[in-house]
């Protein structure tokens, strides 16, 4: 069958790809586009390992059709670091806020979106915001502390 032709923007760069109608954004990112940072955990929107941004909002890329990306702005973990790591990435390394790392790209994408919206979140707000990002290794404590510490650093740097 004929593939759909999609023109979109990924991490600020124009991008075109072909996909099947029922193919998920996650499949296209990880397959033809070679952006393997987003992970497939559950495939049903429960675990958050495939978190990307769609027009600045975090979404599960497993619950989005690739065809829906037409004309939209997509952000992935590959676009998070510039010349240097994003402060969240740096803090996660320093604080050992990851173990196996499968959840980490999704957690970072979600945490970045939170701090852009709310630079001074309470621990409660961080925990609720990240409730859709499951981690089976850390027990969450180090993740939450790393996000809180990054938020404090970023506020101090402003």
């Amino acid at each position: 069958m004929a593939k759909l032709h999609v023109s979109t923007t990924i991490n600020g760069e124009p991008q075109e790809f072909l996909c099947d109608a029922e193919q998920s954004m996650l499949d296209v990112l990880r397959g033809p586009l070679g952006l393997t940072g987003a992970k497939e955990g559950c495939g049903t929107g429960d675990c958050g390992a495939c978190t990307i941004t769609l027009n600045g909002r975090i979404v599960c890329s497993c619950l989005m059709l690739a065809a829906e990306a037409e004309g939209q702005e997509i952000g992935t973990i590959e676009g998070m670091a510039g010349e240097e790591l994003h402060p969240l990435q740096q803090k996660f390394l320093e604080s050992a806020a990851l173990q196996c790392g499968i959840c980490t790209p999704g957690v970072l994408m979600a945490a970045k979106a939170l701090l852009e919206k709310n630079p001074d979140p309470t621990e409660h707000e961080v925990r609720f915001w990240l409730a859709g990002n499951l981690c089976r290794c850390t027990g969450y404590d180090k993740i939450i502390r790393a996000v809180m510490d990054t938020a404090a650093d970023m506020r101090a740097a402003r």
Binding site: A21, T44, C60, L63, L65, E68, A113, G132, N133
Partner: protein
């Protein structure tokens, strides 16, 4: 299998595409139910009609009379961010915002929640309590239907073939009115309601002058519990009135036993939630 994806820019085009697909068409709003169902092989659409490029389905409008028109494909996050909606209809917004994670909130819509046809959809009892109607459009034109009339049974709707839910219409509010929604789940987040209760009411000098009660997850479809509303109206929401309304809620329940809760538990909790929800709505409306 040859699946088509279409993203029409107008409602008329969407209606035509959906009608042309006959029974094999599926509407894509937030996709948080549809994509999971496709993945699990529960549905295999021939045509997927994405309705998010249509202005009327993706906008919120405050009408001149003080009501709201909410596009069926507006996400929960957009509902929450609306500057006025949470002030006038906090219960509707909190119900929609209980659905899923932050990621799901960015996508999941009240139209999808209703049309998925789950008896446990969180936004539905709050919409019923709010006396919301839906505007429906199909090949034979437009009509309006009360939200509680839309579900027919689990996964089944009282829509004609080819009809699409376009928007929710929330009525203008009398002074001293508010609403609330509570759900019971065995954990704090990310679960499906064992019982959901929406209450919308109007308070005048400590007396309840109007009320509507919606219950979810306790019957094959959402329930509008008129007997519970009658018990609240005219009272000062004292313990006797609340107990009577709670008993009416429990009496209305026709739940199932499943892994989330037993019939006895759901029936009892429906009454407990009614009391708590009514008091929150009253507090928001200006107090008892």
């Amino acid at each position: 299998m040859d699946v088509q994806y279409v993203a029409p820019k107008t409602l008329d085009e969407a209606i035509r595409a959906f009608a042309a697909a006959a029974g094999s068409g599926r509407i894509l709003a937030g996709g948080t139910d549809l994509l999971v169902q496709m993945r699990n092989g529960i549905v295999s659409p021939g045509t997927i009609v994405d309705i998010k490029k249509i202005g009327e389905l993706t906008s919120i409008e405050e009408t001149k009379d003080g009501g709201f028109r909410i596009g069926a494909a507006v996400s929960g996050m957009v509902l929450r961010e609306h500057p006025r909606l949470s002030k006038v209809w906090p219960g509707v917004v909190e119900a929609a915002n209980l659905i899923g994670s932050t990621q799901v909130q960015g996508r999941a819509t009240p139209g999808g929640n209703l049309c998925n046809g789950s008896p446990a959809g969180d936004s539905v009892p709050a919409m019923v309590a709010a006396a919301a109607t839906v505007t429906i459009q199909g090949p034979n034109g437009r009509r309006e239907m009360a939200v509680e009339k839309v579900p027919k049974g689990p996964g089944r709707l009282n829509l004609e073939p080819g009809e699409i839910v376009v928007s929710f219409n929330l009525p203008p509010r009398a002074k001293g009115s508010s609403d609330a929604y509570l759900r019971m789940i065995p954990r704090t987040e990310m679960d499906i309601a064992v019982v959901g209760c929406g209450v919308s009411l109007t308070m005048d000098k400590g007396t309840c002058t109007a009320a509507r009660v919606g219950l979810g997850a306790v019957a094959p479809t959402v329930l509008l519990v008129e007997e519970a509303a009658k018990a609240l109206i005219g009272s000062k929401l004292d313990e006797a009135a609340l107990a009577k309304a709670a008993a009416a809620c429990s009496a209305a329940c026709r739940p199932i036993d499943d892994k989330r809760g037993t019939i006895a538990y759901r029936t009892k909790v429906a009454g407990v939630l009614l009391k708590r929800t009514a008091l929150i709505a009253a507090e928001r409306a200006g107090g008892k």
